[in-house]
Symmetry: C2
Subunit: 292 residues, 2 copies
Amino acid sequence: MIKQLCIFGVGLIGGSLAMALRNAGKCEQVIGCSRNAEHLKQAQELGVIDEYTTDPVEAVRDADVIFLSVPLGAMQPILESIKDHIPEHAIITDGGSAKGCVKQAAINAFGDIPARFVLGHPIAGREKSGVSAAIDDLYQQRKVILTPVESVNGLNATDPEALATITKMWQSTGATVELLGVEEHDQILAATSHLPHILAFELVSTLSNSAVSNNVFNYAAGGFQDFTRIASSDPVMWRDICLENKDAILGMLGEFEDRLTTLKKHMVENNSDAILQSFGDAKAARDKAVIK
Amino acid sequence: MIKQLCIFGVGLIGGSLAMALRNAGKCEQVIGCSRNAEHLKQAQELGVIDEYTTDPVEAVRDADVIFLSVPLGAMQPILESIKDHIPEHAIITDGGSAKGCVKQAAINAFGDIPARFVLGHPIAGREKSGVSAAIDDLYQQRKVILTPVESVNGLNATDPEALATITKMWQSTGATVELLGVEEHDQILAATSHLPHILAFELVSTLSNSAVSNNVFNYAAGGFQDFTRIASSDPVMWRDICLENKDAILGMLGEFEDRLTTLKKHMVENNSDAILQSFGDAKAARDKAVIK
């Protein structure tokens, strides 16, 4: 049972966590904090949080768990503002889409990542954002990845008791918790999430800037709607992901661009067999991945 | 009322047309033709077609409407095999995903595109293919694009009566019929359909060939499933589209690659404002397109 949960950034991810924990009877009180009092008021009216404040110091004063669900670029300023005010027993955790940058933000703010800081990432989302999109079953049957750090050169390792508490917290929302290394997480998510989002944003941009037709979207079929759904995601969040997981994303983008170059070569050379082989392999991989 | 409809390639597209026309009481008899007698037998057992033959000449003997729903690369061989056996009153039409190449296939086979050949493309599909995926409401509230040709240098223009018949045929399936020029169609579809399919195939290939993780697909969220659904489409059909609408697709791929290059530059330069602007514009365009 968490007596007081403090959430920085009460949007889809933070709001859905609060709702799920309350539903499961695992949380007594939720305090919301952000720079925007209007958003916090809305979250309170929706019953997602009990109290709110725009003062980070006040927000964490009696917290047992502090959950950061803000865009990646906002992590370090928040950590700096609360670092001297966190109760000794409190656990910090986050929901950021990349983990190396949050670890670095903690090191920048604290000099080292605190032992009771559990880096985490719920693999869940909707194309809608904001607290009005929060739902109590967002994490049901989803994966949450936690990336505990090991002690290197005398630096802190993640406290096992803090890791166990955050693991149980996520499990009580209906999620499955898996552990990965920080770098491994960032590589995998660059591939499965960050690259697809970038392609969707850039595809829509290509079409809306193309000379092809003023009304090109009128001729888009159902597949197009599915394919571009993620281009309706929050631009600020995705801008930050591009900048904060840059190396892994640039690596995956490079691999993707190499494949496009190969395909173009096959097309120009009328290499029918090579194109068929490539598309057939992709279909097989996709069909297999989805059956899982 | 079509007395006898002859369908070449009784799969998702052709099978669904037969089912919709029969449901609407607009077709008396359906003859199926393909090289694969097993597929035809299955289509007959499913009640999609009445009779079948693997002989193209026999298939068209008493046809009123001949519908070609085969991969683009198979159009010309079929047209060559039936060209001297088409009843004078019969109308030929097709469901090919690109139109310039089908027009060219007709010119290659007949010396000119016959006046009673109505080029067409139903903007509908499912990631499943084959006659077992055919459904009678596939075309309900979908667009069907017809691309009649005008007389140039004494060549045939599309017969208005044939165009009217095929328009009514599609309308009776619940579809809305729109007219576009051949080239305009091919440009628009390269943007809205062909490019997204290629990106989906190549994204899945990138992931399944990446060194990132053996089980990278295990960490894919819902957005990824949506984004890659179209990578389960028929590889033969898409191989043919890549080859037969090559110029338009290479043009769109080039525009897309230019955007990726710009994004990478912004990422490397930490140009936060430019990335946010670009993603924000994409989200706005996508949200607007979908409301339509």
